[in-house]
Symmetry: C2
């Protein structure tokens, strides 16, 4: 009954991240690329369970901050889509269009599969928002979005369909819109860093790299094991051109009509999932932070014909106790060797393994293995739930600290193109002087792109870093400190 | 600051259900029909919060029964779609097709917005399922589906996009497939009846009314206040033609290849929501069962300038205590009269209102109003959470019993077309003799359809009812007892 395949997962994450990534997706059954439409994958249970938890934690935080949940149609009429010209320019090349029904009956108007939903939300905002009393108007939806990417797709990282949350919000002033952007950064910290243990830096993106239709774009980047950055949630202050196009106005306290200021924030759950597995995993496979692990504890009963009943009964009792404390627990009753079970659940990233045999039962102490540290301890059987909840918090903190440390070590300074190239090749983010982040310096950015195959991610938002030295690209006096990185 | 509009909701649900339904959707802000694509609506927070709870309860039950969650692409390639001819015939007229991208670049192959996902799941089943050890293979996904309905749409009841769960499952025998169908009926009972308080009867649908591609269809019907039935979850044993078309096979214990038997089950959450609001609501508005209410308790602080601080402090304390016990609670601090607040939250269907003034604080007893019974009681402030949890269970049971009673009273017997017509006009489901539910009797069904503008819903699945008398349509000896009803 024993499976013939190799029982250990063993891929060097640091040396060959790309291979590690593809292999773990297959081996742990996270997603299947064999669905027969290019760029679309089937998300499998082990990833869906995690992403559902991620949705839940993100939505709780958003609701706590006053965002109300909506479900908008997946399709957006072409006329909505065409209303804001920068937005059209940015998204039109990537839109999937629904044009017909049934046996080829043409629709009167083409419908876009939403690539993002400003043009759907704003239409309704123009109906719903009447007065300053309606503001702030804070919404969100859990949804899939669709982009006909021309770049190579990579599961969870860049697909033609991804699972995200988008918030859309209206305010009575630009100041309040900016406050919202800052609140979004706080949300990102509370959820991505504190719950998913994924570190990031929020950058103000340069003028040439803004969201189509935005006045300002703030985007978080994390660092992947191969030294490339991955963009995580971004928040945007939308240009008033947009609310003007959609006629989103309110009456102020003096009875005067004004256009709203709007923001949007887009945590792409399926992409954040890619960061979670890439950052925390190791050569043996996945490691999930305790909060979002699909299973938090796996019980491995160790028995022979004689003590089978005794051991299984105790395992069942422990499983029940752990579940009563809301610890997601299962008992592995498959017909496999102990070794196979150990390797399998290590590869799957379950935070805790409880080994339970007759000896453990007699001693009233089970062996608990912690996946991230690889440490085994003996824990009192009556207090396993308590131990795991406490140790789960420690696991989460340890993963966060480790990831933050690696992120900080992944940043190098450089004062020349040559030095920058070397650092980028070592898999570093490069911190350097740059002339400016206005459109005037787009040429310098192009030079970086061309010579280093890397992009200017922007200026750090949380602290104004004082410029010194020269622009790495043109040699003029630097006005800004920017971060340059290869990216997904 | 007081809104000028009429503060009470008052529509006669029994007398004019259609008007009641449209008005409560607007007034309670459940859905907005002003989105500019016909047949698509925007689901608003007050319904989304309920439907999210409904999803959660349904998914918990499915996971408990061994179904694993997946997320499939929203698009299905035309070639998948064309593989099973009955399925194509049934769904093709209603499919939305994605045919182009960007600025009009034609796709090589048309993609269907999924109207249901058998043809997506089975493609992957044929890859994943290898041996009897893989069976039963039980899956589900939470998803939206799209049907270009030609009938008039009605929010939540019949839309071109609806939110559902679909399970797809593979077995090694027809018997096991039938067992799954029975398990699905149990799931429907555990969730729809026990949690949402929505009664139903499961019918075996007549041959002429099966799911396209199914060998047998079992569907639940509930009774709406206007006497029409609404189809709720259905479960289907799929014809093996389907697994043959998709090559879904397994090796049995003897090493022999066999085609799988499959089933699917489709609880449409947005449609069940329509039943929830229609069945439980009354002339004052919505009534939500405790389990799924977006808010379970609303605190109305009653104060004047002098005791404002004292009352609000106590309200905050109570809110905190209730929330600590996971009771979804808010305090209404809007600048409205007490009457307006009372009517508003009654209309919104919040199960409990807690009235809290200085008198109540001094007496250490708050007034608790229960929405469904309209009864007010004084409850000890220190034990409010306890009371509400206990009373919430009672509320849920009361709603269930009331709904079940109304359903039972909604069924009449008839032994002639004339009698049936009268009963249908009174808003009843008619129970009657019928010649058979095989294709041989399709003509009798057509006669019913034509003369009574009603359809044969099938035979009751839970108990074999002994036929007596004659077929109501053709006068031959009845072989079956069937139920006839007008339907949505």
């Amino acid at each position: 009954m024993v499976k013939k395949e190799k029982i250990t997962f063993d891929k060097n994450k640091k040396e060959n991240f790309s291979e590690w990534y593809s292999e773990i997706i297959k081996k742990a059954e996270l997603g299947d690329m064999r669905y027969n439409i290019k760029g679309f994958i089937v998300f499998q249970p082990w990833s869906v369970l995690v992403m559902e938890k991620m949705y839940q934690l993100m939505e709780e935080e958003l609701q706590l901050k006053g965002h109300k949940p909506y479900w908008y149609p997946v399709v957006i009429p072409e006329k909505n889509f065409l209303m804001e010209k920068n937005h059209v320019k940015g998204f039109a090349p990537e839109v999937f269009w629904v044009t017909e029904t049934g046996a080829g009956e043409k629709l009167e108007e083409k419908l876009a599969l939403r690539p993002t939903s400003e043009t759907a939300f704003y239409q309704m905002f123009s109906i719903w928002i009447r007065s300053y009393k309606d503001l702030p108007f804070k919404t969100y939806q859990r949804a899939q979005v669709f982009r006909h990417e021309t770049k190579a797709t990579k599961p969870f990282i860049r697909s033609r369909e991804f699972h995200w949350i988008e918030t859309h919000n209206a305010f009575d002033s630009k100041e309040n819109a900016l406050k919202q952007a800052k609140e979004d950064m706080d949300t990102t910290k509370k959820v991505l860093l504190e719950k998913f243990c994924v570190p990031f830096i929020f950058f103000k993106r340069p003028e040439w790299d803004k969201f189509p239709g935005a006045e300002s774009t703030f985007a978080s980047d994390t660092l992947m094991p191969d030294g490339k950055v991955l963009q995580l949630p971004s928040t945007h202050i939308i240009s008033q051109e947009f609310t003007k196009a959609f006629n989103v106005k309110y009456l102020d306290k003096n009875g005067k009509e004004n256009y709203c200021w709007t923001t949007c924030y887009g945590p792409a759950i399926s992409r954040i999932f890619a960061a979670v597995i890439s950052i925390h995993g190791d050569n043996k496979g996945l490691i999930f932070p305790f909060n979002i692990a699909p299973l938090q504890a796996i019980i491995i009963p160790i028995f022979n014909e004689k003590n089978r009943e005794k051991v299984l009964k105790e395992a069942e009792k422990i499983e029940k106790e752990l579940r009563a404390k809301k610890i997601r627990t299962e008992t592995d009753l498959q017909e496999k060797t102990m070794g196979e079970k150990f390797y399998f659940w290590e590869m799957k990233g379950v935070p805790f393994r409880i080994e339970l045999g007759e000896k453990e039962i007699n001693e009233k102490k089970a062996t608990v293995f912690r996946r991230d540290t690889g440490k085994k301890t003996k824990e009192s059987i009556g207090k396993l739930a308590e131990f795991i909840l406490k140790e789960g918090e420690k696991q989460s903190n340890a993963l966060k600290e480790k990831a933050e440390k690696e992120f900080m070590q992944g940043i190098s300074e450089a004062d020349s193109i040559e030095k920058a190239r070397k650092e980028l090749e070592k898999g570093k983010i490069v911190k350097t002087g740059f002339c400016s982040v206005s459109m005037d310096s787009a040429e310098c950015a192009e030079k970086i792109e061309k010579e280093l195959n890397a992009s200017v991610r922007g200026t750090k938002f949380s602290e104004k870093e004082k410029a010194k030295g020269k622009c790495i690209a043109c040699g003029k006096k630097a006005q800004e400190i920017v971060y340059i990185a290869k990216s997904y």
